[in-house]
């Protein structure tokens, strides 16, 4: 019983349960599959937002290029699905049957070498994790070993996003160009376009999201999480406490990029295509906004942020398409100015204290053992005496 209570506190299971209830029971029961599929799409952005909580909120590394990793994951999945959809029978009318249609239109006569391994689903799953991780590793080693940080790093991630978009659009024969990779049909013969498949993929997406949430929680609760906070404030002090700061930054950025890539792969599966519009600068910045609105120090907040902003985007842009971008910009500025910790911050500062005591979240986990070993901890275990700790755990 004690162990369970400990787990509850450590992973904020009560809040996790509420989200699980919402995503697994309430939404599927109250929405038709078209709307639920949209929710599934929003959730793929939540993967990116969770990654941003880790690397931006905790690590202080602002990335304006998370679309790159979302895209890499999505493209890996799309390449596999496209190859399956381009069987010689399906493409018999092409000049070269058996290769994706856009290659045929671009006068390619054989499959490029880097497409070959994507015939294998196992390789594809590995590639979804390893390609973005490797790419993130190369970029961050180059940057963080040279101690490029802050706004310079953010600008470089933007440049990377722009470069990758231009590359994808320019190499039409290899990538499908500006249209992306479309007309995806089956996964190992299982038609992913049916309503039933969409339901299943939605639940797979939710399950993976919770896997990422738990990994994220584990990292935040570990010493590495506290080191990230420390690095965000006093990078030099961390260095002179004997830590190789760049190694930690590289790790957290790679982890965030892998989360984004999983989101991208789930996007491809649920929506049925992948295109450069999800790679570039604009989608990357939108992803930062989801994270900021939800609360950049809260993993769960990031999920709600992605859901709410996207839902607002969909309904708002249906009625006022030309105003939407302005509204989005205003939302971002408003949140940063008024609620720097986003929705999660609003929750922990304004709503939660007014709730009955038993509904409040438990004591922040990292202080529990310390309280247990000191005798004079009564003063500091009350929330009001410890505002920053509260803030730091602004998770809900």
């Amino acid at each position: 019983m004690n162990f369970i209570a400990h787990l509850f506190a450590r992973y904020q299971l009560s809040h996790m349960l509420i989200l699980a209830l919402l995503l697994i029971v309430v939404l599927p029961l109250s929405m038709d599959i078209f709307r639920l599929n949209l929710i599934g799409k929003y959730l793929t952005y939540a993967f990116v937002a969770i990654g941003l909580v880790l690397c931006w909120g905790y690590g202080g590394i602002l990335s304006l290029g998370q679309g790159v990793f979302f895209g890499l994951g999505g493209y890996c999945m799309a390449m596999f699905l496209k190859l399956e959809a381009s069987s010689p029978e399906n493409t018999a009318i092409q000049t070269t049957p058996g290769i994706p249609d856009f290659m045929d239109w671009n006068q390619l006569t054989e499959l490029p070498w880097f497409w070959e391994p994507f015939h294998s689903f196992g390789f594809t799953l590995l590639a979804i994790i390893l390609v973005p991780a490797f790419f993130a590793f190369v970029v961050t080693v180059a940057m963080f070993k040279r101690r490029v940080g802050g706004v310079y790093f953010a600008i470089i991630t933007q440049a990377v996003a722009a470069i990758l978009t231009i590359l994808i659009i320019g190499q039409q024969g290899y990538t499908g160009g500006v249209n992306g990779i479309t007309d995806l049909r089956t996964l190992h013969g299982w038609d992913i376009r049916t309503d039933e498949a969409k339901y299943i993929l939605y639940f797979v997406c939710v399950a993976l999201l919770f896997v990422c949430l738990f990994i994220g929680k584990y990292v935040i609760n570990s010493k590495l999480g506290r080191l990230l906070v420390a690095m965000r404030e006093r990078e030099d002090r961390v260095r002179f406490s004997g830590y190789d700061v760049s190694a930690f930054k590289i790790f957290i950025f790679c982890l965030a990029s892998v989360f984004s890539a999983i989101g991208g792969a789930m996007f491809t599966l649920q929506i049925g295509f992948m295109s450069p519009t999800f790679v570039g600068i604009v989608p990357s910045i939108e992803m930062v906004i989801f994270c900021a609105v939800g609360g950049r120090l809260s993993l769960l907040g990031a999920v709600y942020g992605a859901l709410l902003v996207n839902a607002a985007k969909t309904s708002f842009s249906e009625s006022f398409p030309e105003l939407w971008l302005f509204a989005m910009g205003a939302l971002f500025i408003g949140v940063v100015m008024a609620f720097p910790n986003g929705l999660a911050g609003v929750w922990t500062t304004y709503i939660e204290p007014r709730l009955p005591a038993r509904l409040r979240s438990p004591v922040p986990p990292s202080t529990i053992p310390a309280v247990a070993v000191t005798t004079t901890a009564e003063t500091s275990s009350t929330p009001s005496a410890n505002p920053t700790v509260e803030h730091r755990h602004a998770g809900n």
Binding site: A230, Y243, D244, T374, H391
Partner: protein, 254 residues
């Protein structure tokens, strides 16, 4: 014969700095500086503003890269090592303004400085076991913060922050401790407590201190090195240095 002598000499020194030079765009902040610190010695570096005192500490701990010269710590050449490798070798550095993690509690500040789990995997799997807790409490008692372990560090007073940073160094158990103005901005009583603290913690290690407060220097120093324009102007006991005419001219006389 000369070579063997030199060899024996080096063995006695924990830290030997030789011919150290660093130039920033041609300006030599430290110029051909040599400095030897013995085991368990408390060495204080004094000198007017801009004499290069902090730069010397920066060079030793790897924050600034030397243009020329060598820094040997227990026979290891430091000039080619990274900051964290230098820390692993056994050197701890305190900054001039208190450099602590204000978003974390006092306990967490000390815990992060505990020398275990210093790589990514180690940090992910780090467990707060009894050994860590005991050590943190022991250090916290030493730095007068035992009743503030769960307090967020930004609520500490200036002097307490300085102590916390000293504690963060102590928990690393370095063989050479470098302190940059440890009592700057402290009240009189805090200053006395700090002096007592330094006396206590310097028993098993060598200490390099930069300080302006002459009374404090006289209280703690074994030997004093006076820097002026990046060079050693004078070196020896406090008494000798105070009576050195060169020192009086550039520094103490003003």
């Amino acid at each position: 014969m000369l070579e063997t002598n030199k060899h024996i000499e080096q063995k006695d020194f924990v830290l030997s700095v030789e011919g150290l030079t660093v130039s920033f765009d041609g300006f030599k902040a430290v110029s051909d500086l040599s400095l030897y610190v013995e085991e368990q010695e408390i060495r204080v570096i004094i000198g007017p503003n801009g004499a290069g005192k902090t730069t010397v500490l920066d060079l030793i701990c790897g924050r600034t890269k030397a243009t020329e010269g060598s820094i040997k710590f227990k026979g290891k050449e430091l000039t080619r090592m990274n900051e964290h490798q230098i820390v692993h070798a056994g050197i701890g550095r305190k900054f001039q303004t208190p450099s602590i993690y204000e978003d974390l509690t006092v306990f967490e500040n000390l815990e992060l400085s505990y020398p275990r789990g210093r790589n990514v995997w180690g940090a992910l799997t780090f467990r707060r076991d009894q050994q860590v807790i005991d050590k943190v409490i022991e250090i916290a008692e030493m730095i007068f913060l035992a009743d503030k372990l769960d307090m967020s560090a930004d609520l500490l007073s200036h002097g307490q922050k300085q102590w916390l940073e000293i504690g963060m160094l102590l928990i690393q158990d370095p063989e050479l401790l470098m302190l940059d103005e440890p009592v700057a901005g402290m009240s009189v009583s805090e200053r006395q407590q700090t002096a007592a603290l330094l006396q206590k913690i310097t028993k098993d290690r060598s200490v390099l201190v930069i300080e302006h407060d002459m009374q404090f220097v006289a209280d703690i120093a074994d030997r004093v090195t006076v820097l002026h324009q990046g060079k050693v102007l004078s070196e020896g006991s406090m008494e000798r240095v105070q009576n050195d005419p060169k020192v009086i001219e550039v520094y103490l006389g003003h």
